[in-house]
Symmetry: C2
Subunit: 145 residues, 2 copies
């Protein structure tokens, strides 16, 4: 489901340890952004939109609990493509993704949404399989906070 | 350069007025997300990446001053496409975009980057022209903060 932008690069560094002495000193992990692309089957567009308008609460909670925020999925009808981007604010991406895949409700969700999509990654089997990733990772070429 | 996800819909509402009584009560405008797509010419990929690794400071400042943050551009080499997403935290998008286009350095930047791209929007002339938009707006089908 994911891949570092530059292979081998570590996720964003944790904020300094210890209690912040004032509120203004509190630092939040700025996180690391991921971008991904996948094809959406033309005859499943309405269905995909409908289920994403009310994603199962267990799935939303698992995403949050795995340190993922500002999770956007955009759709371009002309291209028939879905683009996702999100910020990972945790400190153990691989571990968090294992937790994600360990949730039966998430796996059920993936099975449903995979059926509406076609991966752009050669050899990709499913979201559950993990490798190679069902969504194709994109390269971050610009970022301004 | 932009278009509301749902035409006619207003930008995110301002935070409540008046001084927050404690720091923890301070509310930030959560903003509104935009997603856009454009084609990158195959023979200009390296050049595009290089200039985005050091965007002119005047351009970065103008983006910030126009209430845009978390501005990502992702590239997919297989598709030859660029995907941008950003959060608009201001209260007058049209006005801010006018300010943006009023900056000569921004217009110079657009002229340069337009030359590396092909718009997916029929009839699009340039980023400077504004309408129809050079980058094609995408539809936000999912968001979790």
């Amino acid at each position: 489901m994911w891949q570092p932008t530059s292979p081998g690069e570590e996720p964003a560094q944790p904020a300094p340890h210890g209690h912040a002495r004032t509120l203004s000193m509190k630092q939040k992990n700025p996180g690391r952004w991921f971008g991904q692309v996948v094809k959406l089957k033309k005859d499943r567009v309405d269905e995909y939109k409908a289920c994403h308008a009310k994603v199962w609460p267990e799935v939303l909670k698992q995403i949050k609990d795995c340190g993922i925020e500002d999770y956007n999925i955009f759709y371009d009808d002309g291209l028939g493509l879905l683009f996702a981007s999100f910020r990972y604010i945790g400190y153990d991406y691989a571990g968090d993704m294992e937790k994600m895949a360990g949730n039966p409700k998430v796996r059920e969700w993936w099975k449903m949404t995979d059926s509406m999509q076609e991966s752009l990654v050669e050899g990709a089997v499913s979201s559950e399989a993990g490798t190679p990733s069902w969504w194709r990772p994109m390269e971050q070429v610009f970022f301004q906070p």
